[in-house]
Symmetry: C2
C-alpha cells in the first residue's frame, strides 16, 4: 500500500540528509522533538506538521523561585505511630518522605492539619497537639495521647520539586549535569502564576511560528507521585488528586459548596481517594470543583493557542488531573486532540474513545531509547508485541493518528525495525482507508460495565499507575483488555445511572472487581433500589456477568448480594456447615473454545454454587471458577477472574452472547474458529479486517453473513491460512 499521513515521527538535529527519505517512506505527516532533542533547521522544509512540547506549570525556574507561595501542595499523612504507655507522643511527619520533594507548609496548621486517633477514628482537638521544627525536623507532639492508641498526622506540604521532572532527573542522573536544575512548579490558582502562564504562552507562540501543534505536557496538576526518603517511588496514583490541593482552592470550595473540607477528605486514612476507594461525597465534589476550574483554565490556554493559528494537543498523563477527558466539561476546553502512550488495547481505547476532540493519537512502543535500541535489545519484537496488542483495539475504534518518540538516530540503525514500522503505518492507514472512515459494526448486544465511576472513567478502571502490572488488578483488567477488541458497544455506567434507569438501554451488564472497591461497588449493593433494578433487568431477559467479587458485601446471609442471579456466592467461613456437592459440566456454549483449564489469575477465593440450578463450568480444588445460571428470563455468568489471553477474550465473547440469550446467533457473527484470530466487520464497505493476533501462522474458519453481523444475508463459510501477525481484508459477500 502506498499511502501517507496519520503518523508522527520524532526527529532530531544532524540527520538532515536522511530525514526526507525516512519520513517519505513511513508516510509521516508530522514531526516532534523529544526529551533531549531539538528540531533541526530543516524542519520547516519537510512539508510536515510540527509538534512541540509545552509545560504550562513548570519550566521557568526564575518565576518559580520568585514566587515560592505559588508552589503546588500535597496533602500527606504521617506514618501510623503507636502512643506509649504514658506521656506525650512525638510524630516526625516527614518520616519516610523525601526532603527534596516535600516541605511541610507551616502556615495555619490548626486549620489545615489534622491529628487522628486511628484506634477510635476520633479527631484530636487542635489544642491537644502542637507543631515544632521545620522541614525534615517538623514534629507534631500530641500532649496526652491515649495509651497504645495509634495516631496519624495529616499535613499540608509544599511540592518543592515537580514530580515528573524529578522522576526524569533521578532516573537519568541529571545531578551530574550542571545545566539541570530541580524544577519547581506553580499552581494555576495563584493569581501571579496564572498571569505568568498566560503571558508566557503568548510569548512562546509568538516566538515559534514554525510550530503547528502545541503539545501540552500537560496542564496544571500532576497525578499523585510521591517519593520516599531514599528518593524511590513511595506512592503513585495515576488518577490521584492529592497534588491539586491548596488552602486557596479549599477556601474557594467552601465558598461555593457551603461546607468545609477536612484534611481527612484528602488523606482518606492513607488511601488518598485512589480509584479503588468508593468515592466519598466530598471527594466527588472535589473532582467536580477542580474539573470545572481546570477545564476553564485549559480553555483560556487553548484559546491563546488558537489565536496564533496553532492546534492544542493534550498529552494524556503527567499534569492531567482535573481534565477528566470523559467528563462533561472536557468539550468546553476546545482542545483539538489528545495524545497518549499506548500500552495495551484498553489504554488504546482509553485514548481513541475520548469524545469531543477532533483527533486522538497513540504513541507506540518501543520508545527510541538506548535501553532497547542496543545490542541485545529487541526493538522489532517490542514493536510487534505493541502492535498486536493495540491493533485489535484500533480495528474497533481507530485512533486518528499513531506516532513514535525518542531518538530517530538510534532507530535508523535497526533497518528491520524501520521496515516493520513502515508496514505497521500502512496497515494502520488501511483501516481508515478501506473502512471508509466508518467504525466497524458492533453486535446488537448492548454491553455495560457497572461500577462507582461510570462514564467519567471509561476505559480507566482497575489502573494504579498507567498500564503497569499489579497483582490485584490483572485478573480484572483482562476483562477490559478483552472488550477493547471485541465487537461490542460498551457503556460505563455508575450506580447512580442504574438508579436512574440506565439498565433499560443495555442487554448485558458486567460487574468486575474485588469486594469493597469502587469497581465492585461496595455498599451500593446494600441499596435495594440497585438490587431491584438489576434483578428486574435480568428477570426481563438481561444478562449479568460478575467477575471476581461482584455485588459483594456481607449482609443477610449472602456475600454476593446478587447470588440469586449469579448462582454462586463466596465462602468466608460462615457457611461451611452447609454440605455442597458440586458437579462440573465441562460442555457448554461458553467454553466451546476452551477445551482445558481456565486461567482465572489470582482467583477469587472459595466460590460455591448456591444450588443445583447453577451450571458449574469450571471447578478447581472445590471452588467454582466459571458458572452459568438461568434466572427468570435472564441469565447470570460468574468468572473468578479473567487475565487477558486470546482464549479468555473468546470466553468473554461467548459469555456475553450466552448472557444475552443470543448464543444461537453466534455461528454467523464472523467469529473465527481459532481464538487467536479476530475480525472487524465493515458492512458498508462489504469488507472484513481479519487479524492473526499470534506470532505464528494459523488456519482458521470463518462464518458470517454477507450483510455483516446482522441482516438477512446468507451465511458464508471461509477457510483462511494466515501468516504470523498477518492482517487481511476479506470480502463479506
Amino acid at each position: 500500500m502506498t499511502s501517507r499521513g496519520r503518523v508522527t515521527m520524532p526527529i532530531e538535529q544532524g540527520m538532515d540528509d536522511q530525514l526526507p527519505h525516512i519520513l517519505q517512506r513511513i508516510g509521516a505527516d508530522a514531526v516532534r522533538n523529544s526529551d533531549g532533542t531539538w528540531l533541526p533547521e530543516i524542519t520547516s522544509q519537510l512539508g510536515v506538521k510540527v509538534y512541540e512540547t509545552y509545560f504550562p506549570a513548570r519550566g521557568n525556574q526564575e518565576f518559580a523561585l520568585a514566587n515560592l507561595d505559588a508552589r503546588p501542595h500535597f496533602y500527606l499523612m504521617s506514618e501510623r505511630v503507636t502512643a506509649p504507655a504514658e506521656g506525650p507522643l512525638a510524630v516526625s511527619v516527614m518520616n519516610g518522605y523525601y526532603a527534596l520533594q516535600i516541605e511541610p507548609d507551616l502556615g495555619d496548621v490548626q486549620r489545615w492539619w489534622e491529628v487522628i486517633d486511628r484506634t477510635t477514628g476520633e479527631v484530636v482537638p487542635v489544642d491537644g497537639w502542637s507543631v515544632a521544627g521545620e522541614g525534615t525536623d517538623t514534629v507534631v507532639t500530641i500532649a496526652q495521647p491515649a495509651a497504645f492508641h495509634v495516631y496519624t498526622v495529616s499535613f499540608l506540604a509544599w511540592q518543592v520539586w515537580d514530580s515528573t521532572q524529578m522522576y526524569n532527573y533521578t532516573t537519568n542522573n541529571w545531578q551530574d549535569d550542571p545545566t539541570r536544575v530541580r524544577e519547581i512548579g506553580y499552581d494555576a490558582r495563584h493569581p501571579a502564576a496564572w498571569e505568568f502562564m498566560t503571558t508566557s504562552l503568548r510569548r512562546w507562540c509568538e516566538e515559534r511560528p514554525e510550530v503547528d501543534v502545541v503539545r501540552f505536557t500537560t496542564f496544571f496538576y500532576h497525578f499523585t507521585l510521591v517519593f520516599n526518603d531514599l528518593g524511590k517511588e513511595k506512592f503513585v496514583d495515576w488518577f490521584g488528586y492529592s497534588a491539586s490541593v491548596s488552602p486557596r482552592a479549599m477556601d474557594a470550595f467552601e465558598a461555593e459548596y457551603g461546607y468545609r473540607l477536612r484534611a481527612e477528605d484528602f488523606v482518606d486514612q492513607g488511601y488518598y481517594n485512589n480509584a479503588f476507594q468508593v468515592p466519598s461525597k466530598a471527594f466527588s465534589d472535589w473532582i467536580d470543583f477542580q474539573n470545572r476550574f481546570v477545564c476553564a483554565r485549559v480553555k483560556d490556554l487553548v484559546d491563546i493557542v488558537h489565536e496564533y493559528g496553532k492546534e492544542a494537543l493534550m498529552f494524556l498523563g503527567d499534569n492531567w488531573m482535573g481534565t477528566e477527558p470523559y467528563g462533561e466539561q472536557f468539550a468546553t476546553t476546545g482542545v483539538d486532540g489528545v495524545v497518549g502512550s499506548v500500552g495495551s488495547a484498553a489504554t488504546c481505547r482509553m485514548i481513541s474513545d475520548i469524545p469531543s476532540v477532533r483527533y486522538t493519537e497513540g504513541r507506540f512502543l518501543p520508545y527510541f531509547f538506548p535501553d532497547v535500541f542496543t545490542e541485545g535489545g529487541d526493538p522489532l519484537g517490542e514493536a510487534n508485541v505493541s502492535w498486536l496488542q493495540s491493533r485489535r483495539a484500533i480495528a474497533r475504534k481507530p485512533l486518528e493518528r499513531i506516532g513514535y518518540g525518542g531518538y530517530l538516530s538510534l532507530a535508523v540503525k535497526f533497518p528491520e525495525f524501520m521496515d516493520r514500522i513502515t508496514q505497521i503505518a500502512d496497515e494502520f492507514r488501511s483501516i481508515h482507508e478501506v473502512g471508509e472512515g466508518r467504525l466497524p459494526q458492533s453486535s446488537s448486544i448492548r454491553v455495560g460495565i457497572l461500577n462507582c465511576w461510570g462514564a467519567m472513567r471509561s476505559w480507566q478502571t482497575h489502573m494504579v499507575a498507567h498500564a503497569l502490572w499489579y497483582k490485584q488488578i490483572y485478573s480484572y483488567l483482562g476483562v477490559l483488555e478483552s472488550l477493547a477488541g471485541l465487537p461490542f458497544d460498551l457503556k460505563f455506567v455508575s450506580f447512580d445511572d442504574v438508579r436512574g434507569g440506565a439498565l433499560d438501554g443495555l442487554d448485558v451488564v458486567l460487574n468486575v472487581g474485588a469486594a469493597g472497591t469502587a469497581f465492585s461497588g461496595g455498599d451500593n449493593w446494600l441499596d435495594s433500589d440497585v438490587l431491584v433494578a438489576v434483578r428486574g433487568f435480568v428477570a426481563r431477559g438481561g444478562g449479568l456477568i460478575g467477575v471476581g467479587e461482584p455485588t459483594a458485601v456481607q449482609s443477610e446471609g449472602a456475600f454476593f448480594q446478587l447470588s440469586d442471579v449469579l448462582g454462586v456466592d463466596k465462602e468466608l467461613g460462615f457457611s461451611q456447615s452447609t454440605d455442597r456437592y458440586p458437579v462440573e459440566s465441562r460442555e457448554h456454549f461458553i467454553t466451546e473454545d476452551l477445551p482445558g483449564a481456565l486461567n482465572v489469575g489470582e482467583g477469587a477465593g472459595d466460590i460455591f454454587a448456591t444450588g443445583d440450578a447453577t451450571q458449574i463450568l469450571r471447578l478447581q480444588d472445590g471452588s467454582v471458577e466459571l458458572a452459568a445460571h438461568q434466572q427468570g428470563e435472564g441469565r447470570g455468568v460468574y468468572l473468578a477472574g479473567l487475565p487477558y489471553s486470546h482464549e479468555n477474550s473468546r470466553l468473554l465473547h461467548r459469555a456475553i452472547y450466552w448472557a444475552a440469550g443470543r448464543e444461537a446467533d453466534f455461528g454467523a457473527q464472523w467469529v473465527p474458529s481459532h481464538p487467536g484470530v479476530e475480525v472487524a466487520v465493515f458492512p458498508e464497505a462489504g469488507k472484513g479486517f481479519v487479524m492473526n493476533n499470534l506470532m505464528e501462522a494459523v488456519s482458521t474458519r470463518l462464518a458470517g453473513r454477507t450483510t455483516g453481523l446482522e441482516g438477512e444475508g446468507e451465511v458464508r463459510k471461509l477457510d483462511l491460512d494466515l501468516e504470523p501477525m498477518e492482517s487481511r481484508w476479506i470480502d463479506l459477500a
Copy 2:
C-alpha cells in the same frame, strides 16, 4: 513391657475360647459391646469392667409414638426466594429438606415462624403472610412482597427421625431389615419424656447388674445434622444448637431472661450460629440457658447410675449439645468419665484436657469394621497413623484410657494388627508408669489462644464436623494440631477475658483465623479496650502470633487492626498505590529448621510488610507468608497459614520462643535436631520420652538440661538413632 489396664476392647458372642487370651495379651481391663454386637454370657467371668451403651433420648419407639408432642424440634430456614415483578410469593418451606426427617410444626406459626425480606433485613409482619398445606406441601404465601426482593421463611419443625440413628440406618441400608424402625427421639424438657427417661434408666440399671459403666450415647440434644431431599447430608455442625430448640424451652428462656427470642436468633441468616459466627448475645444466652438445663438433667441421670453402683461415662458426640465439657456447669453433673473418638492430636487433647472428670478415654482408629478389615484393607497402617497422630498429644496430656470399637472377630483375623495394638497399649501404659502419673514438663512460656469462645471451647476451634477436613479450616487447625503435642501450657482466652486482664497471665498470645469469624474475632478488634490490652501486653514484652487474618476488620486505614504489632497487613485493593519493596530474610531463628519453602495451605491472600522494621522470613509471589517484627519490648509474628506437618509444628515451636524473646534458651530445651522427633520431659522421673513421629528410621541430636526444661542442670548432648515410629525413654542425667 508386661503391664495391664487402661484399655477397653470390644467383645462379642461366639469367641468365648479366645477372649481370655486376647484380653490378657493386650492387657485390657474393660470390655464393651458395639453397634450390632451383644456381650457374651462369659463376660462376667472375664475379670474386667463391663461397659454398655445407653441412649436416654431415643430407642423406645412405643413411648415415642405415644408422645409425638415430645419429639424434639429444629429451627430451619427455607431457600432464599426472589419475589416476582408483581403478585404474591409462595415459598415451599420444605424445598431441599427430607420429609422422613423433618415435618413443619404448624402450631402457633405466627409466634414461632418468621418471614424476612433479606434484601432489606426487615421482618414481614405476620399479617403479611399465611401458611397453607402441611408436611412437604407446606407453603408460606407472602401476599404483597416487594418486587425482586429476596425472602426467606424461618420455620419450626419436628424432628421425626433421630439424626444419628437415621445416619446409621441410611448408611447401613437398614431399610432392608424388617427388625429396624426409624427411631423417633424425645425432648427432655417434655414432662412425660423426662419422667420416662428417669424411670427407664432405673429399670435398665436394675436389669443389668453385670454392667459396671453406663456409656451414655449421649444425653438429650443432637448436634445439628440435617439431610436434604435426597437423604444426603445437607447441614452439619458438631457444635450446633439448632436441634435444642422448642416452644417450651423458648418460653422458659423468656421467663428467665426477660426477653423474647426470635426465630432469627436461631436461624441466623441461614448460618445457624455455627461456631465461626461471632456469637450473638441471644445465642450466648441460649447456650448458657441450655447448658444449665442439660447439666442439671444429666446430674439426675448420673445420680441414678451412681445409686446402682455404676459409673457414668459420657460419649463426646451425638446428643452432646448443652453439656459443654469445658464449661463451668459440667463439674456439677458428676459424670465419671468422657470417652471420645480420637482423630488427631487436637481431638485427643479435646478429650484428655476436659477438667472435672476422673478419667478420659480415647477410642482409637481403625474401628473394627469390614471396610478396613478386609482383603486390600490396611488396618495395620491405619493403626500406625492414628497412633503417631495421637501419641504426641498423649505424651503431653495422657488420656487415662484408650480403647477400640467394632467387631473383634474381624480384627483377630489380622494377627499383625493385633500384635501392633498390643505394642501400642504397652507404649501407652509406659507413659503413665514411667512418667509416674505426672504430666511432662511444659515450657515456662505461657501461651494463650484468643478468640470469641475462650476456655468454653478449648481445643474445639475451627471444627465443623468432628475431625473432618475442610478447605477453609485445615490451614488454621494445624496450629491447634501442632500445639497439641508441643510443650506449652495452653489457655484459651476470650475477648471478655482480655478485657478483664487475662493477658497478664500469658507470655505469648495467638490469634488464628479468617476475618470476621469468631476465631479471628470480628468486630472485637474495633474495641479500643481490646486493642490497648494487646498492645500494652506486647509493649511490656509479650508476643503476638497472628495466623491467617488475625485482628482483621477494615477500619481507619488498616485491615489487621494490630498491623502495628504484627508488622504486616493485607492488601484488599485500597492501598495498591503505595509502593512496596519487600526483601526476604531467609535466615532467622524461627526458620532454622525450615530450609525450604513454607507450606501455608490455603494462604491468606496478599499480605504486605508495613515497613522496613518487619523482617519478611518467607515471601511468595510478592506476598508475605511469614514475618517477624519487634514492637517495643515485645514481638509480633505473622503466619499466612499453618497446616499441620512436623516442619510446621517445629516452626511454631520456634516462633513461640522468638515471640517470647526466649530464643536463647531454645538450645537447651531437649528439642531434637530432627523436626520429625519430639520429646516429653519428665524431670521428677529424670526421664525423657522420645518419639520418632516418622515411619522411617532417623538419627537426631538432642540437647537439654539434666534438670529438664528449666533449672540449673548442665546441658547434655545426646545422639540417637531411632527405628521407624520408635518411642524410647532416655535418662536426662
